[in-house]
């Protein structure tokens, strides 16, 4: 992913003042992935652990 533009390096005495536009600029352009990604990893780890435990139990019985 390309780096975000560093707007702080552009020094201007002008700016956008329209409130409705400023509000729109705060909106995202894509859905966030961070929280969902972490949950998936936890579920995968839990599923893997329970599978390993089942395999150990079945090998002990044999």
């Amino acid at each position: 992913m390309p780096p975000a533009v560093d707007v702080s390096r552009y020094k201007s005495d002008k700016k956008v003042t329209d409130d409705s536009i400023l509000k729109m600029l705060e909106q995202p352009t894509a859905k966030p992935t961070g929280a969902k990604g972490k949950n998936k990893k936890k579920k995968k780890k839990a599923a893997k652990k329970s599978t390993e435990e089942e395999e150990e139990e079945s090998s002990e019985e044999e």
Binding site: M1, V7, R9, K11, K14, L25, T29
Partner: protein, 314 residues
């Protein structure tokens, strides 16, 4: 980008990078969907001078001028194009900071682009909450072209700049970068009505062009070097024309190309004449700001997907 870099040299470097990158499976056709172009200062059209045109080939980039770099790639006819504007380094730049009218231009272009990208999102696509809340968001009225243009102009004028007239965002389709829909900013009087709105599942090339001048444009009397195939069929009379067209169709399909990308640049200059006259090829005239004022452009290829994230779109 360094000063004195020739505007002709950088595009070749860009196209070369594409040729050496990892490629997808052999079963998929890949190629360039737009040649690497380097457009200095007031140039609006992507600029790609030829080595055989000595005077233009000697065009040197100047300190502090905005330079637009545009290029694109395609897989199986599905193309993406990007354009970014960078400022040529200057001795006056302190700690990488930029001030004055150049800063106004870059900020105007950046924020206008960010606003335009958000205005392109179909209502409710990114809505969260309950099913009812999402339905309500999806039912919201989408902005008209006139409203979009007005809002973008408000941002640009905040920085004492103007939108380049006729700046157009297009629906991308397979083997087509100017599809059935378009949105035109600051439309000229007689043309430039919007046709359609972005919908889920579509891919668009979203473009913003900003000028430090009034935003009016003029056509230069320079050789057009950017072309693309049209849908018109015509029995070309000259063997040189047929040979040139055959090479173009084989290498680029319907995507735009530069004459410098053909095997023999000098032969290409002759071969395209009949092709353009018979409308088999469309040539992109060299257009610049009417007042020769600096112009910045950004072009972003976006996908309107219901479940997409930034990562998945890459």
């Amino acid at each position: 980008m360094q000063r004195s870099t020739r505007a002709r040299k950088s595009p070749r470097v860009g196209d070369k990078i594409y040729e050496t990158e990892d490629r997808p499976a052999e079963s998929q056709q890949t190629g360039i969907s737009h040649p690497t172009t380097v457009s200095p200062s007031s140039y609006v059209t992507p600029y790609t001078p030829l080595s055989s045109d000595a005077e233009e080939a000697a065009t040197a980039l100047k300190a502090n001028e905005p330079v637009k770099v545009q290029l694109g790639a395609q897989i199986d006819g599905f193309g993406t194009i990007v354009c970014d504007t960078i400022l040529v380094k200057s001795d006056k730049t302190q700690h990488g900071e930029v001030s004055g009218r150049e800063a106004d231009l870059m900020l105007a272009t950046y924020y206008a682009n960010e606003l335009l990208l958000r205005l392109m999102i179909p209502p409710g696509l990114l809505a969260s909450g309950t099913g009812e809340e999402k339905k309500k968001a999806a039912a919201e009225k989408r902005p008209t072209q006139s409203k979009i243009s007005q809002m973008v102009e408000t941002v640009v004028k905040s920085y004492g700049c103007n939108v380049v007239e006729g700046t157009t965002s297009w629906l991308f389709e397979r083997n087509e970068i100017e599809g059935k829909k378009k949105i035109v900013l600051n439309p000229p009087d007689k043309e430039g009505k919007a046709e359609g709105s972005p919908e889920v599942g579509e891919v668009w090339g979203v473009e913003i062009g900003v000028s430090l001048g009034a935003g009016k444009v003029k056509t230069l009397d320079q050789r057009p070097t950017l072309h693309r195939r049209t849908t018109i069929t015509y029995q070309l009379k000259r063997p040189s024309s047929r040979q040139t067209l055959s090479e173009i169709v084989k290498k680029f399909g319907n995507f735009p190309f530069s004459l410098r990308q053909l095997d023999d640049e000098r032969a290409a200059k002759v071969g395209v004449v009949e092709c353009v006259r018979s409308n088999v090829l469309r040539q992109y005239e060299v257009v610049t700001d009417k007042d020769n004022a600096p112009v910045a452009r950004l072009l972003t290829t976006i996908g309107e997907f219901a479940c997409a994230t930034r990562d998945k779109l890459r």
